[in-house]
Amino acid sequence: MSTLLRLATAGSVDDGKSTLVGRLLHDCKAILADQIAHVKTVSEARGGDFDFALLTDGLRAEREQGITIDVAYRYFATDKRSFILADCPGHVQYTRNTVTGASTADVVIILVDARHGVLEQTRRHLAVAGLLRVPHVVLAVNKIDLVGYDEAVFTKIAKDVGEVADQLGIADLKAIPVSALVGDNVVEHSADTAWYDGPTLLEVLENANGRTDTSNQPLRFPVQYVIRPQTDEYRDYRGYTGTVASGTVTVGDPVIVLPAGRRTSIAGIDRPVVTATSTAVVERPSAIAGEAVTVRLADDIDVARGSVIVAAEHSPGTRRELAATVSWLADRPLTVGARVLIKHTTTTAQAIVTKITGALDLDTLGVIDAAELALNDIGKVQLKIAAPLAADPYSSNAITGSFLLIDAHDGWTLAAGMIDDEEGELL
């Protein structure tokens, strides 16, 4: 069955990310005639060869500076599957955009320039991929043509990155020698790397498993919005809308509604039926993780946005204190005592940073003491929250285990947070 795979690219400036993406799209025939004509015209006007990067670097400033500033999303398909590709920036200043692209990715492609080997940005991007628990990481050792297709160079970089990946707990790492410019091992196997008998980049992408199916895990259903039509036909209808975060919801299931902790059961699950003139619902027996549905409950209890409906026998409980790892995304630093907003599933609440436990040192990959977290730092913090949250560790649930920290004044997204495995104080 054909599936959708989400991938993101990461690498340092000038590693050739945009060129690789352009090459991948081009060799998959995902670039159409008018786009090629456009790149030709612009490339020629600048007196250069066909510049693959112009296929994705769409902003004026990106073209002027020859760098990628923000994530560009691209869509392509092969006979085997469809892809959503997030082409992320390499510049350290724009790491937050790489975090954006990687947060929804099934595969992250990390580029390393064969001439330069592992750089600090490589370690940072590996740390981001590890932290976000991206299921698959592909190391593309690029510009292999510029080191004379030297196997030893490739092996050394693959080994260096492998060690870093091990320390970061990245389970699946595949290394491929490529030249984005020439096209070696991107879509077609290269005759110049006879010593490499592994798959091409596209072969890896076509065969990678998508994000882990979480429909076998305990039910988590954050309520987004309550539907009360108050029409003649649906006079007493009260439906709780949301997307199943994990598990399977089935009519009759015993559930608990958090944070109140009230027990009830699923009375119905509704699927919309919309025609040109009518809007109605029909019942369905169950729904699985990822599906946007409407559920009805057996008892008339207080349920609103921010409530989380969970499996009765596997309730996470609620907590007002969290230990978490955060990726700091703002120019202003994080200090202890900072008052912020936390957005967790469909709840937004006030929070105070009570402790900065430490920051990740990219050289040693150990946690070192830190008084504050600066832009692009990855750190460990403790939070006290003004409302009880139905939270799980990120390692067991990416949806109920993740959160944003937001500046209450200007609304800026300050941090991406992942709840640690250690139990916070359960209330």
Binding site: A72, Y73, R74, G411
Partner: protein, 299 residues
């Protein structure tokens, strides 16, 4: 190449999630509705998101005055049938009283920005749904799903908020608003596969019909009140359809015999030109025509 039901279901669920987030977190959302296929699919998804209740949003049409009659008729029929509220911001009114001036090329897509921003201010809309898709164009490929606009309606592509997982941050200060793009991850082919699956009616001009057209800049323009052949351009009756629907004076038709969504799917899958490349003169103006319009507050 075919898209499985599973992929469409994933895209549908993602879009429905977005509609519900906005309904829950904003005071006065509005759907930009032109009667084009993307806005029609957007409305269909919004109806699904809140079924069996009514869509809790107003519609807004920024009317260039250069409309295809079939599209206006479709718009009015939908509003009538579903009992929705429609606001119309007319470029024509701005030209009539001198707030805007007609461009020398006679096209009006660019002129939509000011009436749009005025309507947003006048109605205090705080979330504005647009049907833009990232696969359409280079600048749109850079856009967030929740995209903040300052009090001048401007987009700052170099300073977008990080957008993590499906935790959409819609916080904004008074005067600011958020543009929301529920179809961000849909491609033109996804849209047509969905139209086929859901049997969504569209204005007839999306399917093959006979029309008097002339060729300009490689596009087939219809002979009509807003576009007339210049000397040297010859008119011929051709079988065409519209791949996009915009200002009639700068939206081109494509030669096509596709009379159903299924036939359009086959045609789009085999197409060697992008939809905007094939049909939009305004995007050809410069390397960054869309980025420049978007920075000023365009859709």
């Amino acid at each position: 190449m075919s898209i499985t039901v599973t992929e469409l279901d994933a895209l549908e669920s993602e879009s429905i999630f977005v509609f519900r987030e906005v309904a829950a977190e904003f005071e006065r959302p509005v759907i930009l509705f032109s009667g084009g296929k993307d806005s029609i699919v957007m409305l269909h998804l919004a109806r699904k998101a809140f079924s069996p209740a009514a869509v809790p949003f107003t519609l807004l049409h920024v009317d260039t005055g250069h409309n295809f009659p079939e599209v206006l008729a479709y718009r009015d029929a939908v509003v009538e049938q579903l009992g929705l509220r429609l606001e119309v911001a007319k470029v024509e009114d701005y030209i009539a009283d001198g707030r805007l001036r007609e461009r020398t090329d006679g096209t009006r897509n660019q002129l939509q920005t000011v009436p749009l921003l005025d309507a947003i201010n006048a109605h205090r809309f705080d979330a504005v749904f647009g049907g833009g898709r990232r696969d359409e164009e280079r600048a749109r490929a850079k856009e967030r799903i929740f995209s903040l606009r300052d009090e001048f309606g401007q987009w700052d592509p170099r300073n977008q908020r990080p957008e993590l997982w499906s935790l959409y941050n819609g916080r904004h200060r008074p005067g600011e608003h958020v543009r929301v793009f529920p179809l961000s991850n849909w491609t033109e082919l996804d849209v047509w596969n969905y139209i086929e699956r859901e049997q969504i009616p569209l204005p007839s001009i999306y399917y093959a019909h006979e029309r008097d057209v002339f060729e300009r800049d490689g596009m087939l323009l219809a002979v009509g009140p807003y576009s007339q052949p210049r000397s040297g351009e010859t008119v011929a009756q051709r079988v065409v359809r519209y791949r996009t629907v915009g200002d009639m004076s700068c939206t081109g038709a494509v030669a096509s015999t596709a009379t159903s969504p299924a036939e359009v799917v086959i045609e789009v899958a085999a197409s060697e030109i992008t939809e905007r490349g094939a049909t939009r003169a305004d995007d050809r103006a410069s390397e960054a025509a869309m980025e420049d319009r978007k920075r000023e507050g365009y859709f």
